[in-house]
Subunit: 127 residues, 2 copies
């Protein structure tokens, strides 16, 4: 159902709730390279996936440069054999960061629980 074979820039913008400017900016940064029909950009399903990855990275606090690295990891072709070990290292480092984030989230969830409880207490006591 979500599988189209091409998308306009505004379709993607609407779907992901970002501006067309943002999408063009990602292209200028070399993260997207849509086809063209004349002047007009035409995005493939793969472009859409890439965009999804960028935005997920964003939600996790990654910079575009970091997301670029991550996306490169998903690409099997470009890996000339010398760099594979470096890639593995980056993958491990990423995993470590994600693990740290998981712990951060747990801590924060716990603190939100406490904050909520204090709120509820204050409401029942005060008013």
């Amino acid at each position: 159902m979500t599988a189209q074979d091409s998308y306009s820039i505004s379709e993607l913008a609407k779907e992901f709730d970002i501006t067309t400017r943002t999408i063009r900016f990602y292209e200028a940064e070399g993260m997207l390279s849509p086809d063209r029909q004349g002047q007009t950009r035409v995005y493939t399903d793969q472009d859409r996936v890439t965009l999804k990855l960028i935005l997920r990275g964003k939600r996790l606090g990654f910079s575009l440069a970091e997301s670029r690295e991550l996306i490169a990891m998903y690409d099997p072709q470009t890996n000339n054999h010398k760099q594979l070990q470096a890639l593995l290292n980056k993958i491990h480092e990423r995993r470590r960061l994600l693990q740290q984030q998981l712990e951060d989230i747990k801590l924060m969830q716990h603190e939100l629980d406490e904050a909520e409880q204090r709120c509820l207490d204050a409401m029942s006591t005060g008013a």
Copy 2:
């Protein structure tokens, strides 16, 4: 062991691996208000906790403004009763965002697994 009753700016900078400039910047933004001995800033244990919360927020991709909000939630005093419901709403919204991040992390971990496997395959096949 980690409980001192005061810290210098450089102690905190070293502990959290940030610059003193950063710490002063957070103060200028109203997130910290250390005591002074003459000109010199003296940080309490509470300041240190606040700093910790700011940095955790940072790791989760929150802006300083968002962290400021979060930290305010942990404070029971300031809540005049009218705003408690608003606070609860913010807490729920935060929880929703954290939940989203959890899912993002799971997805990304899965993709890192796959990327790693492709790396390992390529290494055993190629070289």
